[in-house]
Amino acid sequence: MKKNARKWRGFAYAATLLLALGISAGAVAEQFSTPIDQYLGTHSSKLVSDDSEGELWSTYKPSADLLKANGHTDSEKLIKKFIKFGRRQAAEGSVLLKNEAGTLPLKEGSKVSLLGLRSHRMLQGATMGMPIEGPVITLEDALDETVTRTDFANTHNVVKSRAKDPVADVSKLSNFDFKDVGGDNAKFKLNPVTKSAYHKAEGTATLIGPVNTFSDSKSYNPNEPSLDELVAAEANFIDSLNEYDDAAIVVVGRQSSENLDYGKGGVAKGIGANEPLQLTANEKAIIEEAKSHAKKVIVLVNTASQIEIGDLKKDPKIGAILWVGMPGNYGTLGIADILSGKVSPSGGLSDTYATSNLSAPAMMNMGNYDLTNASEIKRGTKWRDNFFGMSHYVIECESIYTGYKYYETRYEDTVYNRFDAKSSAGATQSTTEWKYADEVAYPFGYGLTYGKGFKQELVGQPKISHSGHDFTMDFDVRVTNLDDKISGKSNVQLYGQAPYKVGGLEKASVQLLAYDKTEVLKPGASQTLTIHVDLQNLASYDMNHDNGDGTKGTWVLDDGDYFFTIGNGAHNAINNILAKKGFGKNSGMDEEGDKSKVYEYKYDYSAGDVDDATFSITKNKTKVSNHLDYSQWNYYEPGKVTELSRSKWKETYPVEYKTMTANADMKKMFNGEYYTVKTNDDTSKIVWGSKNTNYVLSDLKGASYDDPRWEDLLNQMTMEEAMGLIACGGNEFRTIDSIKFPHGLYTENSGNGIHLALNGSAITDSAPWAIEANDNNANYQLEVFACAPVVASSFNPALQEELGEIVGLQGVLMGLPILWGPGLNTHRTAYNGRNGDYYSEDPILCGVTAMEFSHGALQYGLIASPKHFAFNDQETNRAGIAPFMTEQRARETELRAFQIAVESTKYDTETHNESMLGIMVSFSKIGPVECTCSRGLMTDILQNEWGFHGYAVTDISDDMQLFSCVINAGVGGYDVRGAFTESGFSKYESCVDKVVPSVELYAKDANIQNQLKRSAHNVLYAFSQSNLMNATNSTTREIFQMTWWRGLYMGIIIVSGLAVIGSLLMAIRAEISNKGKE
């Protein structure tokens, strides 16, 4: 072959390679066009509508004060609103735990040394799940008098996003003077040497997690620099502490992240701590250094996980401790407001801070457990079997005694000196005796304010209403600011105690029932709050109650003395109750209670000893009964597991269940044998594909769930369309031609903002108030608010609702109708790596916070979908883990949180029944049954008992091999993010028989067909109530849009294709020519 021919051969090779790669890349790009669009800010399609009547974009829209003169949303006003809110959120959510001799606040101009790695790299958000994104205001900038405005272009202080890398874009973002976002910062004189030293020693530390450990791992290390390293970084580190000695603020932090847990004993060797939430040697050393140089020592606790701070509490040289959680991108300004005294703290702890986290009975069973006969669990699947490990379990035998319900209940029993409560079982601070004061550092709900504080008193008698299936009490609580200089807010927590009968139902000694918060009260001012209590939240679930109709289990109220009290946290509340019962310090209490704050109510049920009627019918008018019998191990193997009982603290204190073997019945459940597709039902009366009506979804905008038009609309759909609606249930949805439901990206994470940038919407492009495409802040990331525990710890329902409204506003701007969030699992243990996503250990606080958030979001047509329903109690083995518990525990802990949120009774009116419209189902099982496949959970409890109608979606790709079972249970959609396909059901299998779902498969299964209709109804109903109705009418259609990346690969294909042909022809010609010459 001559030179000329070789040249063309080389070109042919190159062009062929390019062509092959171009075609391949194009095919892949089209499959993943949605994430590519999200990453690049391009839009592959858009919705267009004829809007001659001007009906679009008006139901939900930004308020006029956020618009520019041209009608478009002013991104700067929007971001200012976010910064101001984030600041308030942290100011109200931070909790002052200790403040000796007026250590705080600090005066303007104070010379302050910031110490601790986390003072320079504060953990401002979680890593995964509910992370923060984009540029932050650092703690240093929030405190330093030389800093007067945001520094969003500083890439050192930018959190990298998963969806889009903002580091490249922050230079364009607007910056803001602190004066314009709530006022000056703290204006302290900050020690520049310590800042420099930490900057040099920070290593790879970031502003977010990760937890960086797994429950089995022995590698956790918070990587706090040693004093030697700091001195090596800055030689005059120690001297500078003497110069900036008005105060030392030491920050200690622990991360939070989806998918990871802290492990028992899971620490790296040599860090000077035995447990991951204990302070390490380096952390203790820097605190000691602060004590020896500064006049005041303040510790900021920067975590959603309960760091063990008992020693700091006792240390007289530590003047103040402020818990700040993970405050979000702008919360540092709120922390600065507290440190400088602009705001008096008003939060209360959303979790118990134990001296040792190992003292919680739940810690006995937490981590990695696999059935001894795991090899016999063989649930086949084509789809990610390795992720969904099927044989993991955890025994939650602590009964209802999680968090403060354990510590305060055991405390009451020690005061009574009964039930072996003082025995050493579960004690971590003594080998001989359990003592509350030793075991608990700071109780749930506890928090201080500045100055003389507030007086809270019950006013008069509560207004009691008991009729039918409602039983409520309204307490008037007068709050008076006792200080003569300091204004501030005060949160009111109302607790209750139901009578405990030995040998009867397990009951906690105290239970938060409701809460509220005052406005800012000036010195001497008062405000009376009415605290509404639903006695449902104090009722106990008796799973052994005989309902007389062949079923068992209902909610009951025992006859006897009920106590209601206000208190600064759960411990103060139980002390008040004990005082009312005649106890005092001389009878074993660790502090005196105030019996004047207690209302005693004698409940004399007329029909017997137990009121089993009032709450036997739910708000949705459905009879309550057991639906989760299989949730407890003893259902399959009686007597195997011992549940903790307060009547026998010592005898029943949990042991670790490490070697459990599933019996034959249980194995069937583990193997997913829940449903067999029927083959001979009469399905002729189930209508699909009807042409009798011609409704489109937008015709049912805002319609009630019972509107008769739904039946006609659903009949118009084909069965395949109904299946497709469920099979592709987020974040993209398929087109449904029969009802003109347009394909689109309609769901996203999370709870602290939406996981999108301002330019991320293709839906609202044509809205008159849309963010303009050339807006400098188009790349602004929206997940910027504080972690969930900070939201809860504000104990301010109005603020929690406002967060929902702000995220709802984000939803309107982004054209996003459904949010996968907020997180609503309860904190079972401190070691759950994902506690930053969830509000609290207490179901009432969780439930009310989620309800408020959801109601706020709904004001902007954003459907909140709290997750993970339910029992996602740890991240270790979360994909398919089987948590075993009694139905009483299930109902009174996590399900109670979801029940409050779903029922949303607070917002019911005579004409409007508010209800949660979305929910995300857990990866986990309940007992050996997948939550997604539990008809008891998804239909009997969620839909029938609680009245849920809406979008219930699996967690990402969960249980795709159990399609029929999932449909049978009542789930309304699969989250198939990353696996979206228009092409059908190839990734789905019907059941354990591995039959791919199809119209033919269900042709003779009436149950499945009816469930498909019900699920479609639920999902479409949610959309009809959402901001999607802003953007659609009967003319709405999706149109394709060319994007630059699509043009690029198409260009490559065309050019390289032509080049292949051309170069081949030239090569042949050259070769022929050469042959001719030869």
């Binding site: 072959m1 030179k3 070789r6 040249k7 051969r9 080389g10 070109f11 042919a12 090779y13 190159a14 062929t16 390679l17 062509l19 092959a20 790669l21 075609i23 391949s24 890349a25 095919a27 892949v28 499959q31 993943f32 994430p35 995964m128 998963r162 797994f214 989806e258 998918n259 990871l260 990610r384 079997d385 390795n386 992720f387 994909a879 990402i956 990353g978 696996a979 190839s986 090569a1067 070769e1071």
Partner: protein
């Protein structure tokens, strides 16, 4: 045999290197495809068939050179191999993106998943390197010296 080596020029050695790299990619393809639960895509056998064809084409192309058969046949076979390797690139990418997304987000502790992803990436990279090497050699004289 020694005579054959005497006939090889630097470009021929590059071709041999390209073939060995492709062979290594092929072996990794078989490894990643055999990790339990991580066979690539809906039709792993189709992918293996394609890549087997590609590798056979390369071996055949080099063998024909040694046998002094017309060079255009070898060139066509290498062209076939380039097409199959390009298909491999798209197919594997298409079917591993979701796995990568999972591992980089919520499934980071999945050891087998990481093994599958890493071997897939290595396999793609090797095939692409092989393709580039063959493309480069295409511009030069690849016939054996007489």
């Amino acid at each position: 045999m020694i005579n054959i080596f005497k006939k090889l020029n630097i470009i021929n050695y590059l071709e041999i290197l390209a073939a060995l790299v492709a062979l290594a990619g092929y072996i990794l393809l078989l490894v990643t495809n055999s990790i339990q639960g991580y066979a690539i895509g809906e039709s792993p056998a189709l992918l293996v068939t394609f890549d087997t064809l590609g590798v056979i084409a390369i071996v055949a192309a080099l063998t024909l050179k040694v046998m002094n058969k017309p060079n255009w046949i070898s060139s066509l076979l290498i062209l076939v191999a380039l097409i199959t390797f390009g298909f491999n690139f798209g197919y594997v990418l298409y079917n591993r993106v979701a796995l990568a997304a999972n591992l980089l987000t919520f499934d980071g502790n999945n050891v087998l998943g990481w093994l599958a992803l890493k071997t897939s990436i290595a396999e793609i990279v090797l095939f692409v390197i092989s393709s580039i090497l063959f493309t480069v050699t295409g511009f030069f004289k690849t016939e054996l010296s007489k």
